[in-house]
Symmetry: C2
Subunit: 99 residues, 2 copies
């Protein structure tokens, strides 16, 4: 891995390395959701949710489409799901005290 690729990979990881953003990715694992649905699922405020969604959209992690007054977000970069599963397993193991 050369330095340029490392920089790109770090960008993608940084885009996901945040509790709320991880939970958002998890919530979108099974398909698109509107901002309101994501807000409710996470119990976060509107502005915060929208900010994190836009951040991930800017970094190419998510994509969105508008339908009337609602905006639906979905996962654009499927690799983040794989990353999520890595850390998910890790958490699982950590929770059981064997990592």
């Amino acid at each position: 891995m050369d330095k340029e690729l490392a920089m790109h990979a770090a960008e993608v990881l940084k885009a996901v390395a945040h509790p709320i953003r991880l939970l958002i990715v998890e919530a979108l694992q099974d398909g698109e959701r509107s901002v309101g649905q994501i807000m409710d699922a996470l119990g976060e405020k509107q502005a915060i949710t929208s900010q994190q969604l836009n951040l991930m959209k800017d970094k190419g992690v998510l994509a969105s489409r508008r339908e009337g007054t609602k905006v639906y977000y979905r996962i654009q970069n499927p690799n983040v799901i794989r990353v999520l599963n890595c850390v998910y397993d890790h958490c699982d193991a950590a929770a059981k005290g064997r990592s």
Copy 2:
């Protein structure tokens, strides 16, 4: 994944979400290396290398042992290798223009 686990997972990801740190993890994939060897492999300055190594050690990603005047680092949290492979594949695909 509850919020507490998400916070922990984000910590681990943040510990790796940096170009130099990714390259360090990659360099340690096949076993321990001294600080000097890592410096040379990455072409980074001594202080920077040491700082990033210590950061990852603090977060539980790496571990170290001293042998005389040299200090050897190794991967402590094997999950970071899995994460690395995820982003590595991603980079690979991106480099070939299909992601």
